[in-house]
């Protein structure tokens, strides 16, 4: 009796675990897909460096050119 109840819970829990697994895989696919689309939409690959949120003098040609 007790074993049967345990078994029933485990079966249901397994279904839930697979559901969460599928949701996580889906989430990864969405974030990856969005990254690919957003980067390709930039056109020029150099633009991507601006997402670093760090000052990068080498992507501003005017400042580096005179030195």
């Amino acid at each position: 009796m007790a074993l049967q109840v345990e078994h029933e819970i485990h079966a249901r829990r397994k279904g839930r675990n697979f559901g969460v697994f599928a949701l996580l895989i889906g989430f990864i696919a969405i974030v990856f897909g969005l990254t690919v689309v957003k980067v390709l939409q930039l056109g020029e690959a150099g633009e991507f460096e601006r997402f670093d949120h760090v000052a990068r003098p080498q992507i501003v040609p005017e400042e580096g050119a005179g030195e």
């Binding site: 819970i9 839930r16 969005l34």
Partner: protein
């Protein structure tokens, strides 16, 4: 400890129980109207970004549904029609529904902001807040006009879809909002006239019970009259055209005729033919909204070939 409480404690909800929390049928309407709002907008959206945006809007709508079910579990348990829902039937714990609602809301809003723009995300956040707090927690139990105000939550999705594409709000998106907003009360009150409800037992003030069925018939006619200029007016904006206007004129004439028939009747006549007119008008109201949004899509497709619009 009794057997029943032991059973309740050992029950673990399956994925289906959690999915039922999200009100899948409401989600399907939200997905359809948001998709139309996105597709009729003048700016093209990358298909994958469009897909993610619609997913976020659907998940946001589901999250507000879960929050609504969490808050309304007490009244759902008191009405026959709703007693079998996941929380009142004991399949999902109230805390789980609250957690899922809040987590999915945050997920949908943040992802929509990152994938599209902040205005779209703000509108989604406001919709969830409006449905869960303004409607569910406050107005639903406070006023018989609850349907009117609650309709606003269902009217936001095409506006969000439009904001995803354009990054703004305009007369077109406001009129799409107004179309669903004005359509909701006559649609729902027609249903209230023929469905035997026990809202009274749950203490929810429904118009049919607080002001009577005659007043409800009057309200249906008045709101339908107010709906007509909104629906036809949309035809003269940049997303309208001859096809939409023709569909709008035909559907509004049909709906208005139904509203007039409902207004002319009394309850005795209604009981005599088992609410034939009321059921008919409710069905027309479903075709009505669907036809308007499909006509907007048709105009958008025609515009691609240089044919749509005025």
């Amino acid at each position: 400890m009794s057997d029943i409480s032991a059973t309740e404690q050992t029950y673990e909800a399956g994925m289906g129980d959690y999915f039922a929390l999200l009100k899948p049928r409401v989600m399907s309407l939200v997905v359809f109207t948001a998709l139309v709002g996105l597709l009729v907008a003048p700016m093209p959206v990358h298909p994958f970004i469009g897909f993610v945006a619609i997913l976020c809007i659907a998940v946001g709508a589901g999250a507000s549904g879960a929050l609504n079910r969490w808050w309304d579990a007490d009244i759902d348990a008191r009405m026959k029609r709703t007693a079998g829902r996941p929380i009142p039937s004991g399949r999902v714990q109230p805390g789980e529904a609250l957690g899922i609602g809040l987590a999915l809301s945050g997920f949908a809003i943040i992802l929509l902001a990152l994938a599209t723009n902040f205005l779209a995300a703000f509108l989604l956040a406001f919709t969830i807040f409006f449905y869960a707090v303004i409607y569910s927690m406050w107005l639903k139990r406070a006023t018989p006009q609850n349907i009117v105000i609650g309709g606003a939550a269902g009217a936001f999705p095409p506006m969000i879809g439009w904001a995803v594409a354009t990054g703004g709000v305009s007369i077109e998106s406001v009129l799409m909002f107004a179309l669903i907003f004005m359509w909701t009360p006559p649609h729902f009150w027609a249903l209230a006239l023929f469905v035997k409800s026990d809202y009274g037992n749950a203490g929810i003030p429904m118009l049919t019970e607080t002001h009577g069925r005659k007043a409800t018939r009057n309200h249906i006619l008045i709101y339908t009259l107010l709906l007509v200029p909104v629906a036809i007016g949309l035809g003269f904006t940049s997303i309208g055209g001859p096809v939409y206007t023709a569909v709008a004129v035909a559907m509004n004439a049909w709906f208005l005729k139904g509203a007039y028939d409902i207004w002319r009747r009394d309850d005795a006549a209604s009981e005599a033919d088992k609410h034939k007119v009321e059921i008919g008008v409710f069905k027309v109201s479903l075709y009505y909204l669907f036809a308007h949004f499909v006509a907007l899509l048709v105009e958008a497709v025609l515009r691609l070939y240089g044919l749509g619009g005025w």
